[in-house]
Structures are given as structure tokens and as C-alpha cells.
């Protein structure tokens, strides 16, 4: 297996992009990534997208996106793992380059969520759960995470303030991110008083509906060293992938994200590192409780200690383990299929020193954790700066 480097990234401002269609969002992000990388062709492309069929009545993205990126007859693959579609696209692209099959692979993700009504969007998202035994019974995604939150709170004493601190921190970071959907800070009071969505989760504990695309260019590290030298070499040190039961009620432990634990363990093993060697991470804060539980499953904090860690500033940009310096899903937005790819962009930019006002001091190793549904699938990638 060859070492694989990230050499270019592209996205656009995320939000309610009435002016951009599904194909435009992808083409724009992908085109930006190709230009940023300075490649003159791609060998293959991956498109992470959860539900273009339900959101935009469009499938066959392989053909569509290659066409609208102007790279027909390029091989193209659409992958889906609910909200982990982008992370899955990253792993597939990495595998294709690492295996030696291709030299220049575009990994992209996209979701167009605002062409349908709010109810239709809720329905499409709900297909990430067990349609017959969860959705039919009356749950929504906020409800599933709310039940995890309640279980976590009752078992560990995690508080609603701690959850709210996650939102405050992510908005504080996102306020410095010009591409974010909601680039403004929020106060703890505003978060705690926002409309109740599914007890105990309130509106500002929940990531939004967003239109957006994101793309990165992957090449073998050797090629990056010889031909794409404008930036420090950033490679994929580890990749991990695991599933868990589709239904939340089937999980061994309602307060533990096992797929994250296993995917992370595999990524750490491949990279030859442990949780303490990770300088910063982008994690899947679809709901504030998710960030808390993820940081525990990644091994950053002990089970039950994720809440206090957030409350005490350990995960702030200036803390000992910065989480979601981009603003996370909460502030940056969550165009489902694009999120996992955007996480790679954030990690790469931090490692390159291109994170603008959100720049951390000399980070060497970042981790991206991207999760589908209520934790039914998870992708973890570790990127390292080699120079």
C-alpha cells in the first residue's frame, strides 16, 4: 500500500443555496479542488451523497457528476453511508490511490437539501435509521440522539449546560470561518433557551439543513513530493471503518458509539499512534451530544467525561484537544454527503497552516470522524504533516 497525500481542496460557502443545484454544488467544489491542487486531469472520482434521490429526484451521480465536471469518460463512483457518505468516499479514494490502481483521485461529497419541504427533508434524513422499526414507530433523528443524550445524562451526570457549551464553542470557531453557514457566535443562554426540538435537545443543539459540496485531490505521496510541492506534505496516516446495528435499540450500550471506537482503533493501529498523539480533530457533531460521545469513543476522554471536558474548555481552539475548529456541523453546516469530505479539508488546511483565523499552532496530526445515522457506520481518518 502506498502512502497517499492530500494536495488540493475545494468547497464553497455553505447554507441555503437557492442559486445552486445539486450538480452545480458538486461541480463547483470539485473544480475548486482541481484548481487548488494544480492537477491537469483526474484518474477517477468518488462522490459521497446520502440521498440525491429523495432530495433532488436524481440518482446516477457517477454519470451526472463526471459529465458536469467535464471529465467524462472518467470512472466515477457514488458511495452512500448516510451522513458518513463523505468519509466513506475518502476511504474509497484513499484505497484506490494506496493500492496503486490510480494516481490522481478526486474525492467529493455533496448534498442539496433545500429543494424539498422541511417535512420531506426530515423524511429523507430519517431513512438513515431503521425505516420499519424506528421511523415507522415515530422517531426523527433529533429524537434518536435525544434518547442517547438522556441515557448519557442519566448514567454519567452529563448536563444540558455541557451540551450547550459544545454549541457555543463550535459557533465561536465557526464565526471565524467565512464558508460556514452560520458564521456568528452564540451565547450559552441563547443555546439553553432555544426552542425545544426533542427533549432534552433544543434547536441550537442540532446541526442545520444545508446545501453544499466539498472535494479533495489525492495522489501518491511520492508524486506529491516530486510534482506538488507548494505545500507541506500531508498524508493519510490511518483509515478505519466500522458498522454498528442500524437501530439504536439494538446497540449493546445506548451511551457508547462502538463503531467509532472500532474505526478509531483501526485507524490508530494503521497510523501507529494513540488518542494522545492526535493534536486536533473534526468530529461529527450532528447533535451536541454526538460530539461529547464521539470524543469519548475516540479515546480522548474517559467514558462519561466528554461533557466536563467540553465545559472546561479542553476542546476549545485554545484547549488541549481542539475539536471542530471549523465550527463543526453545527456552525459550518451539514450538507450530509459533503460533511465527511469537508472534515478532510479542515484537517489538511490546519496542517498546511492555511486555516486563517482558526489556525492552531503547529499541529502535526489531525483526526476526522464521520458518522452515519445514530452511529450505524463510522469512518475515521488520521492525517499527518510530514515536514
Amino acid at each position: 500500500m502506498r502512502d497517499v497525500a492530500v494536495i488540493g481542496v475545494g468547497l464553497q460557502k455553505w447554507g441555503e443555496r437557492w442559486d445552486r443545484s445539486l450538480r452545480d454544488l458538486f461541480a463547483e467544489a470539485a473544480h475548486n479542488a482541481i484548481n487548488d491542487a494544480g492537477v491537469d486531469h483526474i484518474d477517477s472520482m468518488y462522490i459521497g451523497c446520502m440521498s440525491s434521490g429523495l432530495f433532488a429526484a436524481q440518482e446516477h451521480l457517477a454519470s451526472m457528476m463526471a459529465d458536469y465536471l467535464g471529465v467524462t469518460p472518467c470512472a466515477a463512483t457514488r458511495v452512500e453511508s448516510a451522513c458518513a457518505s463523505g468519509g466513506l468516499a475518502m476511504r474509497m479514494g484513499w484505497m484506490e490511490v494506496a493500492s496503486g490502481l490510480s494516481d490522481i483521485v478526486l474525492v467529493g461529497g455533496v448534498e442539496k437539501m433545500t429543494d424539498v419541504t422541511g417535512d420531506e427533508a426530515t423524511f429523507a434524513l430519517a431513512t438513515a435509521a431503521d425505516t420499519e422499526y424506528e421511523g415507522y414507530q415515530g422517531v426523527t433523528f433529533p429524537a434518536l440522539y435525544a434518547m442517547m443524550a438522556r441515557a448519557h445524562m442519566e448514567r454519567y451526570g452529563t448536563t444540558i449546560e455541557q451540551l450547550s457549551h459544545v454549541s457555543v464553542k463550535n459557533h465561536a470557531n465557526g464565526a471565524l470561518n467565512p464558508d460556514a453557514q452560520y458564521p456568528f457566535p452564540v451565547t450559552l443562554e441563547t443555546v439553553m433557551n432555544s426552542t425545544m426540538v426533542s427533549d432534552p435537545l433544543r434547536l441550537l443543539h442540532c446541526s442545520p439543513i444545508t446545501d453544499g459540496g466539498a472535494a479533495v485531490i489525492l495522489v501518491p505521496a511520492e508524486l506529491a513530493k516530486s510534482k506538488f510541492k507548494k505545500r507541506p506534505l500531508v498524508t493519510v496516516a490511518g483509515s478505519g471503518h466500522a458498522t454498528d446495528t442500524i437501530a439504536l435499540h439494538s446497540r449493546d450500550d445506548l451511551t457508547w458509539l462502538k463503531a467509532t471506537e472500532i474505526a478509531a482503533r483501526n485507524a490508530y493501529k494503521m497510523a501507529g499512534v494513540g488518542p494522545k498523539d492526535i493534536d486536533f480533530a473534526e468530529v461529527h457533531d450532528c447533535f451536541a451530544i454526538a460530539e461529547i460521545m464521539v470524543t469519548e469513543a475516540l479515546g480522548f476522554f474517559e467514558a462519561g467525561k466528554g461533557g466536563p471536558a467540553a465545559e472546561n474548555g479542553l476542546t476549545a481552539r485554545t484547549g488541549s484537544k481542539p475539536i471542530n475548529t471549523s465550527g463543526g456541523l453545527k456552525s459550518k453546516g451539514h450538507p450530509v454527503g459533503a460533511t465527511g469530505v469537508a472534515q478532510i479539508i479542515v484537517i489538511a488546511r490546519q496542517l498546511w497552516g492555511e486555516a486563517g483565523k482558526r489556525q492552531l499552532k503547529d499541529p502535526r496530526r489531525g483526526l476526522a470522524q464521520n458518522m452515519g445515522g445514530s452511529g450505524g457506520s463510522t469512518l475515521v481518518h488520521i492525517l499527518e504533516r510530514k515536514g
Binding site: E132, Y133, E154, D199, L248
Partner: protein
């Protein structure tokens, strides 16, 4: 997306009669499956009708087909045989819903597919 007849009818044994399966190692699967982990086989088993709430939430807005019921409680229930289900918790003052409360399964209408479509039935839980 409207639920159509084949998809509805197939789940009737589970939704109306709680037909599940139990493997030789004693794990209950609801619904029963074609393939069980570790190559195990399973025997028919009917879910226990009573149990306790493991965790719960109260939704302020639900999916469109359930909107008229909002606000409503959802719970993950551990039945007395160890099986777990996700179900709407009804006929309870929302302020009294709590982890550990005892509930039993009751037959209810889950949703209507518009004015002309199927009436879909299934299980909810009520305080025991």
C-alpha cells in the same frame, strides 16, 4: 413516501402479533431474520408484552404523518424477556414519563397514508 401494500403486509406478523425469534444463545431478534450472526439458528418467540423504559424523549415536532400527535413521547423499551423495541409512549401525562417506568404494549393506529391510502397499525406502549 406513502407506505404501499406489500411493504405493509410483510411486517404484519411483527406489528400485530409481536412475532420474533430467539437464538440458541438466548438472544431475541425482532423482527426475525434470514441470517443470524455467528451462523446461529433461531426458534419462533413472541415478545413479552410488558417492560420498562430505558430512555425516552418528547418530540415537539414529529414527521408529517405523526404531526397531529405532537408533542409525543418516544421510548426505547426493554421488554421483560430482554428484547428491546422503539415505540411511542402514549396515554401518559408527558410530565410523568421517566426512565424505569413500567409500560405495556397496546395496539394502535400508527399512521394513515393520506385520505385515500392505507391505514397502518402497530404497537405503541402505555403506562402499565
Amino acid at each position: 413516501m406513502k407506505i404501499r401494500s406489500p411493504r405493509y403486509a410483510r411486517e404484519v406478523p411483527q406489528r400485530y402479533r409481536y412475532e420474533a425469534a430467539i437464538t440458541s444463545s438466548g438472544k431475541i431478534y425482532f423482527p426475525p431474520r434470514l441470517v443470524y450472526p455467528g451462523g446461529e439458528t433461531a426458534q419462533p418467540h413472541t415478545l413479552a408484552q410488558t417492560g420498562k423504559v430505558l430512555t425516552w424523549t418528547i418530540l415537539t415536532t414529529g414527521p408529517a404523518e405523526y404531526a397531529d400527535l405532537a408533542p409525543y413521547a418516544m421510548a426505547i423499551v426493554e421488554l421483560d424477556d430482554g428484547a428491546r423495541i422503539t415505540a411511542m409512549l402514549v396515554d401518559a401525562d408527558l410530565a410523568t414519563v421517566k426512565t424505569g417506568m413500567r409500560v405495556r404494549i397496546e395496539f394502535r393506529k400508527i399512521r394513515s397514508e393520506g385520505h385515500e391510502g392505507l391505514l397502518c397499525y402497530g404497537y405503541k406502549v402505555v403506562p402499565e
